[in-house]
Amino acid sequence: MVFLILLLLVPLAACTARTARRVEAETVAEVIENKGSDTLVNLALAWAERYMEEHPEVRISVTGGGSGTGIAALINGTVDIANASRAMKEEEIEAANANGIMPVEFIVARDAIAVVVHPSNPVDRLTMQQISDIYTGKIVNWSQVGGEDRPIVLLSRESNSGTYLYFLEHVIRLGDPNSELLFSPETLLMPSSEGISAEIRQNPNAIGYDGLGYVTPDQKVVAVARDPSSPYVLPSVETVNDGSYPISRPLYMYTAGEPQGEVKRYIEWILSEGQAIVPELGFVPLK
């Protein structure tokens, strides 16, 4: 009996919340709801603040939660713009279409993923193959890649992070869609970027990766080569844009249908003037 009441209550509560939000959105026309990727959240906030300074009549609310959260909200029609550090999956687009929403994709900036080690680690260059072997557990000692005789401690972001998936698909599996390689079970999954940098700072055995925007000066960034015959490249605005740094990815914003009115103006502003702020947050601007 109680179970039945609960079953009845839950969808009811969800319905009222949704209609309430819709009503609010109609009466206050200049509110832009923006949600999604934690990688993008600082950049999205900076854009929103700058844009609101220039356009005081517009209110933009930015929240994080992860790419999947933002896309789910777009599918449910509760946000105007979803931020994502990965492209929408096929089934997500289908789910949106089923709700009568046609997502439109914009690439708003680029992000490089830096591979970091303790500053005292003599290793300063790695090939993609070596990084893949390290993270799958094939290489377990720094001496195998030209370092000291120390065990390697693997650090990664949690599996819900867009950075985790990107790193798995493009570095560990080297972009091969048929590859079944996974992170070694010995990998330490850190709940935050701060968790990674704290461990990198104090542990000379550790190797980690994170968005270039989150790398602090007390971590050592490793130069990466596509294959042993290519040059070793450090991540920077130049090397990402000319494509010589191998681990970089586009960052996306999705709108529900072709953007209209204020959302359209905001997206256009991000793609033009807004690009000036991008390097300040450690990301790479377009062009």
Binding site: V2, F3, L6, L7, G65, G66, S67, G68, T69, A72, R150, P151, I152, V153, E158, S159, N160, S161, Y164, L165, L182, F183, P185, E186, T187, L188, L189, M190, P191, G195, A198, E199, Q202, N203, N205, A206
Partner: protein, 298 residues
């Protein structure tokens, strides 16, 4: 008449409110339990049991092996209790039996303050201060290990263990102590041979409640155990990273799509956790009940 009715009405209203408040807590537990079942049970049909109880937890790729998580929680919790039990019981004995009155007046509130430290503060402390020490002292590759988690958890379950154990010692009748001393036993012999054994069931309760506290702790554990979902089967597992059930739920619930297999799997872990803590609490309650029926100690 009018004056007589009013207070009665007020009394009736207040009585009903108190009754509703009391009953609602039972109602909420039942509702939470059914919610947990509704969200978690589907996983037992969506994922084969061989997968669910395998050794690999890669939820993004359809591998839902919960064994490393269950064993990880067990390892951290049992080690924490192994550290906290002797410390807690000895502290309780000291506070109740040995310490002079003024020392007891200072110690008891201090122990209660210990219980009030937010777990995220302890987690941060563990991550930045304790983990480097553990790494250097043990010469292990990393300081984010099961042991680090156990140390933090032991610290967190100490207040529970101390205060419940102290209550149990308090309940031992004075006549037991008098009898012990009258037979010529020293104070030390009286404490260890008479008082502590007499309070045994209360101490078991203390340990059970401490374990319940430890196994459900999330934040601090997530920050210091490294969260690697490896099987803790080798001898050195205590000094290696582990991933607990609670940390898994907390870390992954943020981004799962509602209604997906992964979402149901996380609630499935919640059910397993609920059942374990339920059994622990039941055992704790049963020992209290048995003690009452025996009519021995009050």
């Amino acid at each position: 008449m009018e004056q007589m009715r009013r207070p009665r009405l007020g009394e009736f209203v207040i009585e009903s409110l108190v009754k509703v408040a009391g009953l609602s807590s039972i109602g909420f537990v039942v509702l939470i339990f059914f919610f947990l079942l509704r969200e978690g049970v589907p996983v037992f049909f969506e994922v084969e049991l061989t997968n669910l109880f395998s050794t690999r937890w890669y939820p993004t790729f359809g591998l839902f092996g919960t064994l490393p998580l269950i064993l990880g929680s067990a390892l951290v919790t049992l080690s924490a209790i192994a550290i906290a039990l002797p410390l807690g019981v000895v502290t309780a004995v000291f506070v109740r039996e040995v310490a002079p009155h003024w020392a007891r007046e200072i110690l008891k509130p201090m122990i209660e303050v210990l219980a009030g430290i937010p777990s995220v503060v302890l987690g941060f402390f563990g991550m930045t201060l304790l983990a480097p020490v553990v790494r250097r002292m043990l010469g292990m590759p990393t300081g984010l290990t099961a042991l680090t988690g156990a140390l933090i958890l032991a610290y967190m379950s100490l207040p529970t263990i101390i205060s419940v154990a102290e209550d149990a010692l308090d309940a031992v009748p004075k006549s037991y102590r008098d009898a012990g001393l009258a037979l010529g036993a020293t104070q030390w012999q009286t404490i260890w041979r008479v008082v502590v054994p007499a309070a045994r069931s209360g101490i078991v309760t203390a340990v059970m409640l401490g374990m319940g506290r430890a196994i459900g702790e999330t934040m601090a554990v997530m920050m210091v155990t490294g969260n690697a979902a490896r099987m803790p089967l080798t001898l050195d597992s205590l000094f290696r990273p582990v991933r607990t059930m609670t940390a898994t739920i907390a870390a992954e619930m943020g981004e799962v799509a509602e209604g997906s297999v992964h979402y149901h799997a996380l609630f499935g872990i919640g059910i397993i956790l609920f059942v374990i803590t339920f059994i622990l609490n039941l055992t704790a309650a049963a020992t209290i009940f048995k003690k009452r029926r025996r009519g021995g100690l009050r």
